[in-house]
């Protein structure tokens, strides 16, 4: 028998599980291939439909066990990366309206700041997870139903042989009666800055709170409400997404320390690769089918959140380090 006091080392051999990657900020071990596959799948979908995919990425991360707070903060940088390559693509084609971007950003930056502040406040009150889930239910079921319905109607019309006309009438709505008008040369529109700033504000706010780029709401709003021509709408929205998401990443990193760079890097790698294949696949499917599919997908995620809120959770108690605010 060895003398007591002598250092007796009896370590159990650590299991060599290299596929398990430890996420430093999320504080959970994850399967690296699962996260890569999720990034690629969301990238595929986003390339297929021409959207950022944050509204799918954040929920998926929450479903695999990453806390909503870390998911939201980390996905912001992932969206920034994917919208960056998109923005470069449209910049080369001169399909970006710089002035429109600037005005949108005035609202976008303020909205993001407000969003991160709200996020921090809700987190200390212990209601962040609830608010994220509720926002997803409302936004996703709403958008999902609208998209599915729209796609279905277009498909039925096509089946009946009616030509689908792009609705871009020249009729003026109340928005065009607002003051502070400005000429946006590249988009060839003459528009009040008020609705533009408000749109930027709303997108920036929900982007920071929910971890989405907001492209899937921003593009329809810009087309139908602000009457921005299709030639500049995608590029402009991509630049807005890029800047607000970069800003959100910074704010989340400085105030809440919740951005998981390792997680973000895996998502980016999977995402940009998946997007390329998605874009190719998207060209082979008809537009109305695509919209119906996307609508169904969005709806499904929304319903999943709703179910989780309504059924009694297995565990009613939660522990979090820190002081209650």
């Amino acid at each position: 028998m060895t003398m007591p006091g002598a250092a007796i080392v009896s370590w159990r051999n650590p299991r060599q599980t290299r596929v398990q990657l430890y996420l430093p900020i999320a504080d959970v071990p994850v399967n690296i291939f699962l996260i890569l596959a999720m990034g690629a799948a969301v990238g595929f979908v986003s390339g297929m439909f021409g959207i950022g995919g944050g509204f799918l990425m954040t929920p998926l991360l929450i479903f695999v066990g990453i806390t909503p707070a870390v998911a939201v903060a980390s996905v912001a940088s992932h969206i920034a990366a994917s919208s960056c390559s998109g923005a470069i693509f449209y910049w080369r084609r001169r399909a970006i309206d710089p002035l429109l971007v600037l005005v949108l950003l005035i609202g976008g930056i303020s909205g993001t700041t407000l969003g991160v502040w709200t996020f921090t406040r809700l987190r200390s009150l212990g209601q962040l997870d609830l608010m994220i889930a509720l926002s997803y239910v409302v936004l996703l079921t709403g958008v999902g139903v609208a998209m599915f319905y729209e796609g279905l109607r277009a498909m039925l019309r096509l089946r009946r042989g009616v030509a689908v006309s792009l609705r871009r009438s020249g009729s003026h709505s109340w928005i065009h009666g607002l003051p502070l008008k400005m000429r946006f040369k590249r988009s060839k529109i003459y528009l009040s800055v008020i609705p533009v700033v408000v749109v930027g504000l709303v997108i920036g706010f929900i982007g920071a709170v929910m971890g989405i780029g907001g492209g899937f709401i921003l593009v329809p709003i810009m087309i139908y409400l602000l009457r921005v021509p299709t030639s500049t709408v995608i590029g402009t929205s991509m630049v807005l997404t890029l800047v607000t998401m970069l800003f959100a990443t910074m704010l989340h990193a400085v105030t809440n320390h919740l951005v998981d760079a390792v997680l973000a890097l895996i998502l980016m790698t999977g995402g940009v690769t998946g997007a390329q294949f998605g874009a190719r696949a998207g060209q082979k499917i008809r537009g109305e089918h695509l919209r119906m599919l996307l609508g169904l997908l969005i709806l499904a995620v929304g319903i999943r959140f709703a179910v989780e809120l309504v059924i009694r959770p297995d565990e009613l108690f939660t522990i979090r380090e820190g002081a209650a605010g």
Binding site: V9, C84, S85, F317
Partner: protein
Amino acid sequence: MIARRALIAIAALLIAGAATAARAERLIVSVSNHRVTVTPNYSGEELVLFGAVEKDASAPAAHTAYDLVVTVTGPRADMVTRRKERRFGIWINADYRQFVQVPTYLAIFSNRPFDAIGSPDMQRRQQLGLNNVLLTQRVGPDYADVVPNDAFRSAFIRLRTEEGLYREATSAVTFLTPTLFRTSIPLPAEVPIGTYNVEIKLFSEGSLAAHTETAFEIVKVGFEQFVATSARQNGLIYGLATVCMALMSGWAASIVFRKD
């Protein structure tokens, strides 16, 4: 560093020995490692604590059967426990309790059930078992521990136990000989970094006979820990680095997959 730590440990043992010199029993203990390094592929390990009971001539002859309780306390932190309630048809966080400076890791090991070691009163005084350990709560302006069956307190202990961070085992300490003992301290992958205090209490016939302390340190190394530390301490630089990473990978993707 390690050498200095060992010296401190030896000094501590000597002081502890001197303080209890008048007593009949003396405890000599050591842990297998005073500095546990957690690497990225760490999946939980065990630390071994060895010790011996030294008796001098003044020890009562009746003192032959000893009981031993080992308490490992990790770094302390404030924690909030919240309870979900059904409001407006959905489950939301409603009530909460603030736990003030409670251990992030806590393990209480003994060689026999606590009831066999001493009276309930003594168990409470010596904080034997998770039910008797002091967990201060702040209720409004007051600071107090509550009854062991309090809903928040028991939920807190249950959740920490499920994570493997709070443990209680009444057969974990083994006496190899009547005076030589050992126990292993399991450290799961989620262990918080910091200094861990190990308190060893020797009981004989229902009362405390000797008492000593030792400590070990848990450090995390590797890329992941570097990331976690910089995120917490240099938020601005970390944020800038993440932003640059996003821009770089976006730019790289547009080069690699350039369509025109």
